[in-house]
């Protein structure tokens, strides 16, 4: 067997290259894309995809080649559906990270507020915390502060549900920090500017 593989079918090598491309791609790849990237003829790409489809098929492999509207992609075999569902379904998370909590607090009390404003108040960039909170649906975009300005964020109804608030007015009081949003904001920004 091993001796035979020395005289390798050249399509085998192309097939391996396409397998590699499919496993790193974040979207399905068309035959045209595969041909361009491998610098091969589309006919040979189609032949290679045929080989791959034989190797990566239900019952034989846990990785299955799928032809979808947008092109070709690997997917999980159907027999593994239950395990895949368990993998994707995350256990309920008990709390938020410090970065998320601080960012969420700023948006909840001062929102709508932009990322640069959040960064100024926290003293560090807020990009990934904001993106994480948007992905979770706890905050959402609320227009721009002016035309062409930075996108601003506010909390969502899901935020109110998760924190058990009937509405925004039920946020815990911060009286000692100044009741008005503007007052609070300028106070926080003053603190952030102050040298250590």
């Amino acid at each position: 067997m091993e001796r035979l593989r020395l005289v390798e079918n050249p399509v085998d090598r192309l097939a391996r290259t396409i397998e590699a491309l499919l496993v790193i791609a974040s979207k399905p790849l068309t035959i045209a894309e595969l041909a361009a990237v491998t610098e091969e003829e589309t006919e040979r790409v189609e032949t290679a995809l045929g080989l791959i489809a034989g190797r990566f098929r239900e019952g034989r492999s846990g990785v299955v080649l799928e032809h979808v509207a947008g092109g070709y992609a690997f997917r999980a075999a159907r027999e593994a559906a239950e395990a895949c569902a368990r993998l994707v379904e995350r256990p309920v998370q008990r709390g938020l990270t410090q970065a998320s909590l601080e960012t969420l607090a700023v948006v909840a009390y001062l929102g709508p507020v932009s990322r640069p404003e959040i960064a100024r108040i926290r003293g560090v960039a807020a990009d990934s915390a904001v993106a994480g909170l948007v992905e979770r649906g706890l905050i959402a975009e609320a227009g721009r502060d002016r035309e062409g300005g930075a996108v601003r964020y506010e909390t969502t109804p899901l935020f109110e549900r998760v924190f058990g608030l009937a509405d925004h007015s039920e946020l815990p009081d911060l009286d000692e920090l100044g009741g008005e949003v503007e007052e609070l904001r300028s106070r926080l920004e003053d603190v952030a500017r102050r040298p250590a």
Binding site: E66, E89, R90, L101, A105, V124, F163, L171, P172, V191
Partner: protein, 240 residues
Amino acid sequence: MAVAVRELPLDLDAFEGPFDLLLTLVLREELELRDVDVAEIVLAFVDSRLERGDLEACGEFLVLVAALLELKARGLFPGEELDLEGLDPEDAAEELAERLAAYRRFRAAAGWLEERLAAESDRYFRLGAAPLAPVPARPLAQQDPVQLAVALRALAAARPEPSLRHLVLSYPPLARFLDRFRSLLASRGRFAFDNEVDRMTRVEQIVAFLALLELRKRNEARIAQAGPFEPITVWNASAS
């Protein structure tokens, strides 16, 4: 005879910081340390970065180098002790050596990471979700809103990130002191160093002292001190 900075094949901008530069110079086997004024190079570097305002963290470094130079300064005042506000030059040399050693390890670790990255340059993997993977859900448990108030109070109570930027402003460039001392020497012929630096911050005093050593080295000034902790008098070297 010391080699002038400009004659050395060194691109000061290529160094990451004062530790990087000093370490490179100190470890440079082919350079005879006797022939190179390392301190002068380091000061030229620090000075250029200070002028550009991008050397935020060099405060401590400057203090350490100044103290180290004080060891050198003993050569100027044989048998006498100068005191840079209690900074013992021996301790400073020890501290600087330890800081350089620590930096050297991390610079080596950075080199290791760079090589590793090159060796792994043909390793490709997918970033992010697979094209046909089920979309993950991330449910969050019920949260207590009091956490939000606590987080905001903490932000209001304390400066979240110490900034070193204000330190930069208090670092005058060496050149300013050189100019000032030169004009004092030109107009008066002599001045009392202590009077000039009396109201300055400690760091300003150190930079002023470095300027003084520089003038002495360039034979523009002569310096005298009656004894340890006594006032330093500076003369115009050509006027005597």
